[in-house]
Symmetry: C2
Subunit: 514 residues, 2 copies
């Protein structure tokens, strides 16, 4: 057995199943081992950002890490943006970065670079393997680090010669750490605040937004009258009929402050104190004002569902709660295709169990509220803000959940960063329907210029936010990568095509002219 085989066997024994790969020469022993050690599914991505974004989506849906297999420093570099997003989403990922043979590295060959410096900003755990014999143990340590709940990014640098050198065998995983429990004092403090202040809000994030946490939060709201708010960009939120209706914190500071203003007490449960996405002159960084009471029930790294249940019990909350009255599910839209009618169409048609990946940016703002009463579904967004995550993340989510339809609400400008993901969707025949919001611009930037007081946008600025010249033909682009596609210009046509796409297996793309 060589180091590469010991590495893979360790990962397979630990329960890992998928490797999103874009290997090169330095990773060839690991590529060979994929055939010699059965049990790991290798998925080729044609750009490393697709590997890392897919691993993020996979990690969010399964709770366990996928491997990525990346080629040296430049291969890692191409995946960093979506590792950044995954770090903010607290997703578990184990990156394997091939490296030159140790004896060759001093020659400073062309592809050599400082991998550690590149990996450090996105890695909670980072190690350069020192021998073939240690590869299995390093792999186990990387998996353990990635599996610290909710999830972390672990990066293991694997020299080529250590993949080839003999190794004794694989290593068993120790028991993985469990989430730290919230103290009784924190629960009692929150209970006190909720009892004494009827204008309180629970601000939910992380695991609070899964089934158990939401159920407990609904019990708390039913008995205390508190409001339930959630992060602007949740990593994963269970939504739809039967789940409590949450107020989502708006993106822009003015609206976020207005949304929080009614509450004298805000209790954080699994969320950090909300901050502005960007700093705007005259606006605060933090949305909870010094005049408001802020308390922490549970940090994102603690056992939030248990804390919420304990809090519900402390408040003598009923064990079951009627679902809060949501907006009714919209009917199928007709007429003009607009950001609103597109959102209504998705909310009207999405099947039970759907996974919605929302990188619709300026086009999908209406979707959140419109989908309140859709059949139960999972909602994924972009906690890290590195655009282009949508297509890769949906790819990984679909691979993790082959029986659930995935629908990607996808801004056109962002989609161009990682369009290669469509090819992997086609190759793996994943059940993903991509809805391209084609407004032929980076619309958010035009909005930001307006916010900054620009009366008339000059020609160079207009050039930098416009995608109309030349127009991108998404139907051709998608077809060229193996994903069948259609263009729609009315809400009626979108309804027809979305129903058709959802009824057929495999990936589809619908270009919406907004």
């Amino acid at each position: 057995m060589n180091g590469a085989e010991a590495l893979l066997q360790t990962a397979i024994k630990a329960g890992l199943e998928v490797c999103f790969a874009n290997p090169g020469t330095t990773e060839m022993p690991l590529v060979r081992a994929l055939d010699d050690v059965p049990g790991m599914r290798a998925v080729l991505c044609l750009f490393e950002g697709v590997c890392t974004g897919a691993a993020d989506g996979y990690g969010r849906m399964t709770g366990k890490p996928a491997l990525t297999l990346l080629h040296l420093g430049p291969g890692l570099a191409n995946g960093i943006a979506y590792l950044h997003d995954a770090r903010r989403a607290r997703s578990p990922i184990v990156n394997l970065i091939g490296e030159h043979a140790t004896w060759h590295l001093p020659a400073d060959p062309p592809l050599a670079t400082d991998i550690e410096s590149l990996a450090q900003p996105v890695s909670a755990w980072l190690r350069r393997n020192q021998s073939a014999e240690e590869l299995a143990a390093d792999t186990a340590a990387a998996i353990a680090a990635a599996s610290v709940k909710p999830g972390q990014i672990a990066t293991l640098i694997v020299p080529h010669d250590h993949q080839l050198d003999p190794a004794s065998g694989s290593v068993e995983m120790h028991a993985l750490p469990t989430l730290p429990t919230v103290s009784d004092a924190a629960i009692e403090q929150a209970a006190q605040m909720l009892r004494s202040d009827r204008s309180a809000a629970l601000f939910l994030g992380g695991y609070a937004l899964r089934e158990r946490g939401l159920h407990a939060a609904a019990r708390i709201a039913a008995t205390s009258g508190c409001a339930l708010l959630c992060e602007t960009f949740p990593a994963r939120l269970e939504r739809g009929a039967g789940r409590p209706t949450l107020k989502r914190l708006p993106y822009f500071p003015e609206q976020a402050l207005k949304t929080l203003a009614p509450y004298q007490t805000i209790i954080l449960a699994g969320a950090k104190a909300p901050v502005a996405f960007f700093g705007y002159a005259g606006m605060p960084s933090y949305f909870i004002t010094p005049e408001q009471h802020q308390a922490v029930l549970a940090t994102p790294d603690e056992d939030i569902p248990a804390a919420l249940e304990a809090l519900a019990d402390a408040l003598d909350a009923p064990l079951t709660v009627e679902a809060t009255a949501a907006l009714p599910r919209p009917s199928r839209p007709v007429g003009a295709l607009t950001p609103e009618s597109f959102c209504a169409a998705v909310a009207a048609l999405q099947p039970a169990g759907a996974i919605i990946m929302d990188e619709g940016n300026m086009s999908s703002g209406a979707y959140f509220q419109l989908s309140d009463a859709a059949p139960p579904f999972t909602y994924l967004t972009q906690p890290g803000g590195a655009i282009g995550l949508g297509l890769p993340c949906a790819t990984g989510a679909a691979l993790a959940c082959p029986d659930r339809p995935v629908i990607t609400l996808q801004a056109d400008g962002s989609a161009m960063y990682t369009v290669q993901a469509l090819w992997t969707q086609a190759r793996e025949q994943l059940n993903v329907t991509t809805l391209i919001c084609n407004n032929r611009s980076y619309r958010i930037l035009g909005y930001e210029l307006m916010r900054a007081g620009v009366q008339e946008i000059g020609p160079q600025a207009r050039n930098l936010i416009g995608l109309a010249n030349p127009p991108i033909d998404w139907v051709q682009l998608s077809g060229s990568l193996g994903v069948p596609a259609v263009r729609v210009e009315t809400a009626d046509a979108l309804v027809v095509e979305l129903e058709r796409a959802l009824a057929e297996a495999g990936p589809h793309l619908i270009e919406m002219m907004l």
Copy 2:
């Protein structure tokens, strides 16, 4: 005047003309300034790797830096792979990285990350601006650092508030440093070696491969009988009829060692001692053996053309030299379309003054020799090995030299990393003809597996090196991004289509089924 305007005015006064941009919210004051301060051409790229790869091509062709404008850490991350290539090519680039407002950064907003750690491996000069007042001076310092010959990468982190705050004005550049001169002793040593050893070789790289250096090298060879070799992956090499014929060092170690074996003395002129691209067991890292004499005439950071001229004079070399007999220019190929016939077609048809960007990898190996007698042209390759550079680098070269036709020899797998560059070629109507070598695989990896002794490639490995399922339709893909394209399956058809593409202004793509 605000900081952004002072920055831009400084850059424009220093002679910078082009900014390859993919901006976001934190860079909006700089985007506004592009209209308020005339003189800087902003070129939108739909992915940051296109910005940095284009800046590399631009820098190689003009000798002066372009600006890149990138959005925070994740935007920089997407551009790192081609900054890596540019660093190895010693290209001048000034990266402007927008950053959160200084007062907002402590809130750790979603897009915040350690920009310095990401930038360090690719930056010879790296600074975080501390105030609007210092922005002009920082910009001048960045330009000065980038302009250290042959070229360096300078990265300036520009907080949003400093772009907006008032600034006094722009700063004049000091005189830029010139290349250090090679010592008389080094020249005398080389002359001695060449006089005493008729089996010597000059190993040329960097500026030795431009007009002046090549002319001097030809004089030296004519008088001393030494061989002229060049780096495997030159950043820029002037080639074709009238220029000396160089032996290019082969890629694989066995062949490289064989090529160097006849020479007892090898004198490095602007090249580092050649090393293997990857380490292979049983093969050395360094290609010049301990038994050979190795001397340095000039490092890549010294004035190589002057050193070569001084060496030629020391040898009493004739002032003019007949061009060495090259292989005759191939005639137009007919019949089957193969890697060889495609290379012959390019060599047969390329017009005088062409710029050839070669990322053909396994498909373009025959081109170098076949093009010996083509009309004078510039040859660009990938000194850093981060694949996907071809389309962006060609984009920047075409922008730098609007009157010269650019032809990109482009492997299909590599092209997928940065396919977004086609859109910028279409928008700017650049004279680039892209020849896609569609062999539906990462062919080099299959070759590497064979070299590693794999008898039969297993299904997972085959899956990771094959691009046939689904096949990528390059004609559709190119058309979707605004670049007209055709598919050819014979050498005859390639000749017809390449002539047509070269005769028409604007970008074209030809998909070659190899």
